[in-house]
């Protein structure tokens, strides 16, 4: 097995006062191989964005703090680095794009300056060459007349175009990993498809690994090879895309899949998982999905299920399905 590019191990993030903390991310582990693409799926409040922000240590402290775990990038635990070294990694090794293209660009700087700044921060490049690089990058993400748009401001671009600018800015230093936090959520469906296409194309040309955060399994299936399903701050299932769609093992993943509308559907109402996501940190004991689960047994309320292995590429945290699959399922040592 190859050495992972990124290895998140048993990560936990807390918010609020130290005396009475709220644990919004708990025991999250996953890996991204070099040039691989992994998706994190989950509802709002499942901790997926906090997980992604933690990788770059961009959580504002206070009120947030990373209380346990390791985030290894190329074998180096980022959490051990002094704070002052993080800016060297951000943008150069790991870049990030965000959900809101409308507000994620600085309104008073030209986009040429903003993309150029990303280069200036990490590379010693003369102004003329930098300009060329910015133009080349804008062309790559499909901005028409890139040289003519350098001096434009963000408000002169549409949402889709701004997200392209964000992607250009993120990729301009050839990072090894791109974290995309809901990059298409705020966009129209057609623009969404264009941006996903673009991410596909860029992955092939630049060989960048991708961590894609989304609440939409469809979007993740489009880009990623593996998917991590998060629920209430925990990883409940992790598998390759094929297994997730064909043979989901966690009842929550099954619910998610059932609630995706299908073209040949003749149901009047879409399926929805009953109940709602528990408040962050409110589940102290047992499986966080217990209240909403159709398969629950008494044990679920008492003991948090560990990750069970369902074959080489699939793991899920459920007592019931692990019991059904019993001979094959093995508890994974943390």
């Amino acid at each position: 097995m190859t050495v992972p590019l990124l290895k998140v191990d048993n990560l936990a993030v807390e918010f609020g006062p130290k005396a009475n903390p709220i644990r919004v991310v708990d025991g999250v582990s996953f890996e991204i191989p070099p040039a691989g693409a992994v998706g994190i799926v989950g509802e709002s409040g499942s901790g997926k964005s906090i997980t992604s922000l933690s990788i770059l240590r961009l959580i504002s402290e206070p009120p947030g703090r990373i209380v346990q775990g390791r985030i290894e990038f190329n074998g180096v635990n980022l959490l051990d680095l002094p704070r002052s070294e993080m800016p060297d990694i951000r943008g150069r090794d790991i870049a990030m794009i965000f959900q809101e293209p409308m507000s994620s660009l600085n309104p008073v700087m030209t986009i040429g300056d903003q993309i150029g700044e990303a280069i200036k921060l990490h590379e010693d490049m003369p102004g003329e060459k930098r300009r060329e690089r910015v133009i080349e990058m804008l062309r790559l993400v499909g901005i028409p007349d890139p040289a003519g748009r350098l001096d434009s401001y963000p408000h002169q671009f549409s949402g889709g175009m701004r997200q392209r600018v964000m992607i250009a800015m993120a990729l301009v230093c050839n990072p090894k990993l791109l974290i995309a936090d809901e990059p298409t959520t705020a966009l129209d469906v057609t623009i969404q498809a264009q941006v996903l296409d673009l991410m596909h194309k860029l992955r092939r040309t630049l060989n960048t690994a991708v961590l894609l955060i989304s609440h939409d399994l469809g979007v993740i299936a489009d880009v990623c090879e593996r998917v991590v399903v998060m629920y209430a701050g925990r990883v409940v299932e992790e598998a390759d895309i094929r297994s997730i769609f064909r043979n989901p093992q966690h009842p929550y993943t099954r619910g998610l899949l059932q609630s995706i509308p299908k073209l040949d559907d003749d149901r009047d109402r879409l399926y929805q998982i009953p109940g709602s996501v528990p408040l962050a940190g409110s589940v102290k004991k047992g499986c966080p999905f217990y209240q909403r689960c159709s398969l629950r047994i008494d044990k679920c309320a008492q003991e948090m299920p560990p990750m069970f292995s369902f074959g080489p590429d699939q793991r899920a945290a459920c007592w019931v399905t692990a019991g059904q699959a019993d001979a094959k399922a093995k508890e994974v040592a943390l």
Binding site: L56, L58, P87, D88, I89, R90, G91, R92, A95, M96, F98, E100, S103, S104, L105, N106, P107, V108, M109, T110, G112, E117, A118, L121, H122, D151, Y153, H155, Q156, M166, M169, A170
Partner: protein, 320 residues
Amino acid sequence: MRDLGGGKTMARYLLLRLADAVPTILLVLTLVFIAMRILPGDPAIAALGDMATPEQLELFREKMGLNAPLWLQYINFVWGMLTLDFGRSLMNNQSVLALIAYNLPYTIELTIVAMILGVGFGIPLGVLAATHRNKAADNAVRGFSLLGYAVPDFYLGALLLITFSLNLGWFPINGGGEGFFDRMHHVFLPAVTLALVKAAFIGRLTRTSLLEVFGKDYIRTARAKGAREPRVIYRHGLRNALLPLTTGIGLSTLATLSGSVAIELVFNRPGIGKLLISAISERDYAVIQGGVVIFSLFVVLINLLMDLVYIVVDPRIRVQ
């Protein structure tokens, strides 16, 4: 590299703004005209004294055009103001324009120095407070601001005057000074007095605007691309906080102008405020009129300047 939105649109914007100022100025002139007419007291008696004979008063009124119908007085007044013919002082027959021309530079000088000091201290204080939110530095700045708001400027002026001019003798006690350095020496204490209130106000405003900007997504973007904190604070944060700050600094400049009235009196230095106060106490209507009009023109001018600064600070206004 930065295009200011094309010369044409820029010129159009400026013309529009200037055109906007015209009705404002007319309104101001009308208000001054009305105010002067409804003030208690007869200007003729005020000018000539109680001992004047009815003939003398009549002659005076005729000379001043006070007997003409009101609409004619109004037109004459507006025309006179627009052609900078403010008439002559009723007290010493000096040209009001000359009086203003002599006093105005002192007020402008005081305003500029006070603003430089106020902004120069206020913004760094605000940055300090915002970047150390709820820590000792923030609380210290809050205390300073509270003090700045609470202490009346004329009182603070008197305190500074007694301490640094009277007791320590570091600064002159009165007058405006001659030549650049002497004038700066004279303007320093009064400017500091006004600047304290400025700094308090601008410091608070900077803190609030910066904290708001720090919560924006593009600040996170700046950090995510590897910008270090000073760059995040100044290039991305403060640059955006300048938009609300511009408004605040403009308003504060106007406040400085009116504040200068009391300060010029306390420090006994020449200036429009001082001129106005003595004109009011002597019922020198011509001078009051001229002074008030000049003050109002200043307000209009500063508003116009603020609009210009907006164009520079906010590209979204620039390109429309």
